[in-house]
Structure formats: structure tokens, C-alpha cells
Symmetry: C2
Amino acid sequence: MSKRKIKLGAFVPGISQHLAGWRHPQARPQDNHSLAYFVELAKTAERGLFDAYFLADIPVSVDPDRTANLGLNANNTGLEPITLFSALSAVTQHIGFIATASSTYEQPYSLARKFASLDHLSQGRAAWNVVTTAQPEAAKNYGLEQAPLPQARYERADEFINVAQKLWDSWEDDAFSYDKASGEFFDGSKVHAPRFKGKHIAVDGALNIARPPQGYPVIVQAGQSEDGRELAAKYAEVIFTAQQNLSDAQSFYRDVKQRLSKYGRHADDVKIMPGVSIFVAATEAEARAKYDELNSYIHPSVGLMLLHALGGFTEDLSQYDLDQPLPAHIGQLSHGASRQQLILDIARKNNFSIRQLYQWIASARGHWTLIGTPAQIADQLQQWFENDAADGFNILPPTTPASLDDFVDSVVPELQRRGLFRTAYEGKTLRDNLGLKRPENQYVLARRYTEHAS
Amino acid sequence: MSKRKIKLGAFVPGISQHLAGWRHPQARPQDNHSLAYFVELAKTAERGLFDAYFLADIPVSVDPDRTANLGLNANNTGLEPITLFSALSAVTQHIGFIATASSTYEQPYSLARKFASLDHLSQGRAAWNVVTTAQPEAAKNYGLEQAPLPQARYERADEFINVAQKLWDSWEDDAFSYDKASGEFFDGSKVHAPRFKGKHIAVDGALNIARPPQGYPVIVQAGQSEDGRELAAKYAEVIFTAQQNLSDAQSFYRDVKQRLSKYGRHADDVKIMPGVSIFVAATEAEARAKYDELNSYIHPSVGLMLLHALGGFTEDLSQYDLDQPLPAHIGQLSHGASRQQLILDIARKNNFSIRQLYQWIASARGHWTLIGTPAQIADQLQQWFENDAADGFNILPPTTPASLDDFVDSVVPELQRRGLFRTAYEGKTLRDNLGLKRPENQYVLARRYTEHAS
């Protein structure tokens, strides 16, 4: 068996991960709706042998009638991930595609079909990042007055993934006979209908597409809450998590891996991949200068808006001196609570001024941030990887495309020199590259048990 | 002004239009989930200078627990049109993409986003074929016990297109400033939210994608009923219709074009494109042999199943002599009524035997069928085109890929020789090629009126 290797996701929005990264001289925000631009980015990530390209998504944009635009910024416009990745399928060979889609607002029959279609188009490179979409504005875009409560959202997510897997299993792998001589197009005994009636979801019939090449697209999840961890333990194969230091990352890693056995799963069935924002250059001083440069582009009002939105602070922070710490007592809203607590903890632990806090959030929205030389960055990643804190990382380049190029050209070769990262793709599908099993069809499994029992 | 030219849609499923077309020696049903195969087909259609590639879709597959599989056949599995066309966007230059999607079961915010994304990916080549999905099985795949009644489906379709247009107008064409110097990413006065509350649909916020290159994707519609015609007159820019003879086609053409003025639209704002199934060869006898060959592949039981499903007959037709006409009195279900009446009319008018009737339906599901030499085919198309019966045609090749090749290689050159069809694409977008105006943004229009009034 070959040595365990780091898995890498490229979390690369068209505009930029850092709040003000689009103001970098090389940034190309005007290309945010251009397929040609994303083809370049995907090919760079593929040159860097990334396992997958990862795109976030939220069914909400800026609100023209609110000055604050809570939680929203320029990244809230752009190409839709499933369609964009479908297009990229035609012009890439190896890289996987992690598309974010909401289990709260999408319809299972439609979404399962689209992911199956993406998996066929890409010949087995599709993954679904399941999000439950906490934002209250999203509910209003789908005819609801307010978002369902977290518990209801997670119950629905559970039912959604469950029925999606049934839908993907509708046609056994060898159901289609295509027999021109006899006229038999498919074997009717190898078609199955979910007949699913849950608390939140009902889906009756078979899906109108063949079983995906990967069996199921890879399931990705990012919840940090108790409900989120439990859903991840049950279904997730990749976990995108925000961790700030080795010991917290180890504790999360251990917690989730331990939960798997309850669902008959093995620790290797899930790859835990924390997000990490990387500023890298030949010297530490140059790397630090890159961090400072992007921060210099942040308008204080925009920084405070982000802090307000992600931190959920109930007071207007502009009334305080930005170069002093947050006041000792400060109110926070309750939705998205784990992220909000993290932000407050970081502020207290580092004794950040308000300005330093929004600068820190601006670069990676609460994810781990590394600033240094390729060797320094690799040291840190290696430490986490080799000490039960991570199976890989989702790389968050602060400015697109420059920081992605930096990572591919300097950190990837360093990781390869250390034998920590692949020098060629291992297999054809995303599952092959991630080292994940292709799931068996549940109806075939059920038949095998029945036959064995009788 | 250049001479009016025929518009052409390529209605080409991966398996085949003719019920048994997949049994043709050159058919490749095993490639139905292969992007490479559809790239070949799209490039053939583009070589033939088709305006658009057209794909039907229905969110239902075969039912494993019913022997009859009402209304369903091998075409009810395959790649999803929006994702497939997104992939084809990356490897084609000119051809438009007409994707079918249901206004009854999709969510407006999600669907408007996906069509906008396809329009950006293809640089202005997207079209949406709006269907209301009559099939009762579809409702059960979306948590409903039964399909909404036709009137409710059409009311919802009206609201759906209305709100989709508002969503596409969320960002004015020049809303994004991308000003790195000032830090202004967009001009907040050029963002608009629908704030839409209808009887069936409510959508609050702005769409999370820039306005599509075409303003709106081209709206395509195929309803023949009174409700369908009225919806088409209000919104449709391309109408896909099933007409059997010149006088019926003229009467439909006149009726729809006359309805437009009620909505402030001009007769040229909609292109009426009947479907036509074409068997073409160097001699009429060879063309007839192609028709007979495909019909010889139809199992009587499959033919009767199709007749049962599309005709909505309430009796089991296998009890009758297949080589005799339908009995004088025969019951029919009520949903999809216009198609069912058409089938009965055709049977009576031609004095078809039951076998001849299912053979006729098997080739084009009730669409016009032409069998002959390139000149004979062109004569017929020219007659309809020059006599107010059609602005173009949706070509239904009976077997894929052979019949598409036949049409491109023999009928297209004949139409070009007659000056009836383009010899090069006129413009960059589907609207350019179809001769359709790019719609103005409704919020810009409203502001202009307000400014003019004040």
C-alpha cells in the first residue's frame, strides 16, 4: 500500500476569497461571469494536481433596499456551480468538482438528477457539498417568510441525502441491455423506485438517468454544530472545516472519526479537510507584505459590514475606536452560532483590535491563515497531516488568480519533495483520487442479503 | 434588409426520436450518457447551421411496478438538458441551446439562476422551453399526490416567467463597476429586487448572477390548448407546435400571431416552428424503405403501449385486430387532451389500422412526417414557410445520428441553393440568429418613463 498522501481542494471563487482581494492589481473581477476565466483557473488547479475544485453557493444576493447588506458581498453574484462545473467537465481531464447546493431549498428529484448528470458528463468527478442554508433572506427567495429552524433543516438534509442515494440507485449499473436484436432496452427487474415518504420529503418514482459513474457523487459537508457533525458522520465523505490551531483541529478530527462507527462506517471513509488561507512568498517578509497589501484595500466600512454579518454583532461597531479591542460585553445574534463564537474567541485570544479582527476575517472568513515561505507553509500542513488533525486541506487563495498560482508553483512542489503529495493523479474518478470506495447499489445489496438468507 | 430565412431547431435525443430508432444499425443507445457523443451531435447540428439544439425533458422515468409504463419509454433516461448544454457551451461556438424545464415543479430562483448561468457560459445561446408537465407521475416525484389542474399550472407558468424576467433584470447591464481604485464593486442604484408575491409564487430578493448576455434567455413554448396559446402569445419567442397539414398550420400560425398585439407585441417577436420528422434519401423509394425499416423494429406490444400512453385510450387495444381501424367508439382520458384528439383525428382521416397508427405515432409522436428526396422535402418546407404556416422548423431526426447526418448533408444544401436558409451564422447570440430583439431591462424602462413624465 502506498504512503498516505495529502488531499487538496481548491476553494477558488472568481472574484476572490479575501474581501478586498479583487482590488489586487492582477485580480480580474470583470471576468467573474466568463467561462474562459474559470477554464484557466481549473487548468491551474489541475496542473497543481488538486483533487477537486470547490465552489460555495448561497441562493441570495445583495439587497438593494438595505444599506448594510448583511452577510453579503461581491462574491454573492456569479456563475452557478453545477452548470459551471458541467462546462468545465468538457475541457478538463482529472480534477473533481465540488458544487454547493442547498438541501433546504432545492428539490431532491431535480437536484439528484443534476448531480448524476454532472457525474456522467465528467466521467465520475462530481461531488455535492450539502448545505442547509441558515440565511433568513434565502427563505424569502423560495416563498417562505422565514428559514426553517436548524433542527428541521438538518432533518430535511438527512432525508434529502437518503432519498438522493435511493434515486441514484434507481438503475442498477447493468440495468441497460441496449439489445438491438431482441429489442430489450433495459432489464425491468433492475429498475427501482424510492417510494419515499419522510417528514419533510416525499419522492415516489425512479430517477430519469443511469446510475452515476461513481455510484453516488462524493458527499461533502461543512457543519460544525452538533447536528452538523452527526449528519457528517452519517453521510459525509469529505468534511470542510474551519480550525484555528492544531489541538482544536485534532479534537474535531477525533470527534468526527469516532462518530462514524455508529453508522457502520470506517475512519477512512471520510476525509477531513480544514480550510487554510495561504500567503506564500520566497521570504517571510514578502509573504507578510502580501497579507498587508490585501488588508490595505479594505475600506473600514466594508470591513465592519463583514464583521457585523459574520460575527452577528447586534451593536454598530463603528461607534468604537477601530484600533481598540471589542468592548468586554457585546451582543451576538443566534443563527450561524458556531462561526460567531469562533470569531469572538479569536478576538479575545489574540487581543485583536476591531481593525485587526476584520482584517483577519476578511482574509479567510474564520479559516486558518498561514503566512510564510513554501517550507514554512509545508511544515505547518505536514504537522497537521501527520498528527491526526487533517487528511488534507481546502486551500483558500486570498486573491484570484495570483494566490492560486503561488500555491501551485511553490507549495505543491515542496509537498511533493517531502513525499506528502501525489506527483500524478492516481485514478480516473474523484473517488479514486480521494481514496474513497465506490458505494454499492442498495437494492443489489438488499437482494444479496435476501438471497443469502433464503 | 436581407430576405427572410428559415429558422431551424435540431430536436435530437441521444437515443432516437422514433420509438424503435435505437435499433437502427448505426444507432448508439449505449452512448446516451456520454458527453463525447453529444459533442459529435452538436457539432453536426452546428455544421448544418441550425439555430439551436433542442432537448425535451420530463421529471419522470419508467415505473418498475407497472407493466404498462404509461407514456414512458427509453428516452426517459439520460443527461439533464441544462447541465448537458452547459458542457456543450465549452466546445461549440454558434449553436443555441433550448433546454426544457418544468414551471410546475422547479423553483423560480434556482431555475432563473441556472438559465442565466447557461446564457453566460454560452455567451448568449440559452433558451428555456417552458413546460407545465401534465404527467401525474411527475407530481409524486415532488411530494404531491396529484398534478395541479391545467388552469393552475398555466397560472403558475405565467407567474414563473414573469418573476424569472424580474430576476434576470436584478442587475442592470452596467451595474458592475469593478473599480479597483475607488473600491466600488457595483453601483447599488442599479440592483433591483422582485419583491414578488403572486398566487402561486413568492420571490423576494435580487438574483445572484449578472444579467444574461441576451437580457433574457429565449422563451420557447409548445402549448396547443387555449391556455397554452395565450401563454405563448404573452411570452413565447419560439413556438414548437405539432401540425399535420398546411391549412391547420396556417390557422394556428394566424391565430397565435394575432394574439400578440393584445400584449403589445409584434408578429415578428415570435417564431413559429412546427416539428417535422424527415426520412430523406436520393430516391423516394429509398426514403420509404428507411421509414419501413424503422417501423419493422417496433414490437407490437411496445407500439400499443405508446398508443395507449399518448392516445390516452382507456381500453386495452391488444384485444383488437391490429390490422383493422380503431373501433368506432373508444374512451380517452382527459389529460394532454389536444394531443389525444389529434391522434384520433389522424386515425380517422387516414383510415389507419391500429398498427399503422402506432407506426405513424412512433416516428414523430404526432408531428408532421415527410418522406422523400431532398427536393421533395424542401418543396414541402418551402410551401409552409412561404405561406404563413411556419417561420422555421424543429427537425425531428427519426434515428440518431443517421437521420441528423442525412438532413445536414442533403436537405440543408438544397434549402441553401434555394436561398431559403443561411450559409453562415448571422450573429453571436441565439437571439441574433433567430432575429429576436434583446429585451430591455424593465427597471431601466420604468425609470426612463418616470424621468420622461416628470
